[in-house]
Symmetry: C2
Subunit: 183 residues, 2 copies
DNA sequence: CATGGATCGTTCGGTACCAAAAGATCTCGC
DNA sequence: GCGAGATCTTTTGGTACCGAACGATCCATG
């Protein structure tokens, strides 16, 4: 069996990761990865940069849904839709899907859900009847205006420990990754 | 109507965002947000830092599923499970769920899918029959060893434009956010 | 022993989410 | 005008994914 077939039989000499993780444990986990796979031709810096994005996104999303959004029966996606319509005003579904990072087929179902709750409304475009524009209702406006400041407070809490410079640097680096990933 | 009730009626004087977005457009979009909501007491730096995490994660995930994982019929979650088992070896389902960032109920279903494809196998722990450990099969090992180098190449492509220092800085900042979000 | 509480994995009900196909409408060459 | 192709949204079929409820197993205390 060549080096590529190497496989860990036990966890000796590796960091114990039982229980909940803090920042130290994450670093330790990344060291373990390097110890396991260090003899291969891999780019570990890209690996950690990219995989930490998803890890952070999942953690932030799940906690937001539990602690901020659940009391209003909103999913992350539903909240995003309201937020985008609030900031940019009404728009057609193709643009809305792109802004929200959703497939347009996904958007259809979620709009139906939001429409049933009278938070948004659809309207067929007169000049091009293939298109549909979506807008907040007054209920939707009330909800997002009440909810968003609390959501922003949550975002502040999630970026605790980052300086102003670091927040801006984080946003900048993520913009670069995003434009790499959007074909 | 007070300032809080202000609502955009049209998109004049705002950046046109039709079509696909690049890094410039993202910055423009963030400027629009500030223009729309700038008179409120919100922390825009936290907002952009946090919301860009999710945007980047979604874009990276979707493209990976399409361009790297689809040819092996793997979802992002399924891939993550194989990867974690590869790096750390067999473990019980609770730890596996935590490492993968999945709810344990979700993991059950995905393990069943992977087990049906003979990529992983479950085994009841002798000393504590409540527990179940999960391990890669040899098919699973072959798959991840073939797939991971290509996945890593994808990660390199996604971090194009970032220097080594920036990749490490990105990983570091995201670790801070993640530990804020894991309660 | 016995039994109540803690700790596992799984099941359940429901939404989110995607890619691909279908259906509706517009546009442009002829 | 009129039919072919382009461009929209919705529908479809299937997986991922969550929280909560459930059932099995372990363990501490009397």
């Amino acid at each position: 069996m060549d080096t590529y077939g190497w496989y860990p039989e036990d966890n000796e000499n590796l960091t114990d990761n039982e229980g909940s993780m803090d920042g130290e444990d994450f670093l330790a986990a990344e060291r373990d990865i390097r110890k396991r796979l260090g003899d291969r031709e891999l780019d570990f810096d890209s690996l950690h940069a990219i995989s930490n994005i998803y890890r952070a996104a999942t953690a932030v999303r799940r906690r937001a849904e539990r602690e901020v959004l659940a009391q209003h029966n909103l999913s992350w996606g539903g909240f995003t839709i309201l937020w985008v319509l609030w900031v940019w005003g009404q728009m057609d579904t193709a643009r809305l899907a792109s802004e929200c990072g959703l497939a347009k087929g996904t958007l259809t179902g979620m709009l139906t859900t939001l429409e049933r709750r009278h938070l948004v409304e659809r309207e067929q475009v007169k000049t091009d009847r293939r298109k549909v524009t979506v807008a907040l209702t007054s209920d939707g406006l009330t909800l997002i205006e009440d909810l968003f400041p609390r959501f922003n407070a949550y975002e502040v809490a999630m970026s605790e420990g980052l300086s102003l410079t670091e927040k801006r640097e984080l946003a900048r680096l993520l913009r670069i990754v995003t434009s790499n990933a959007v074909p």
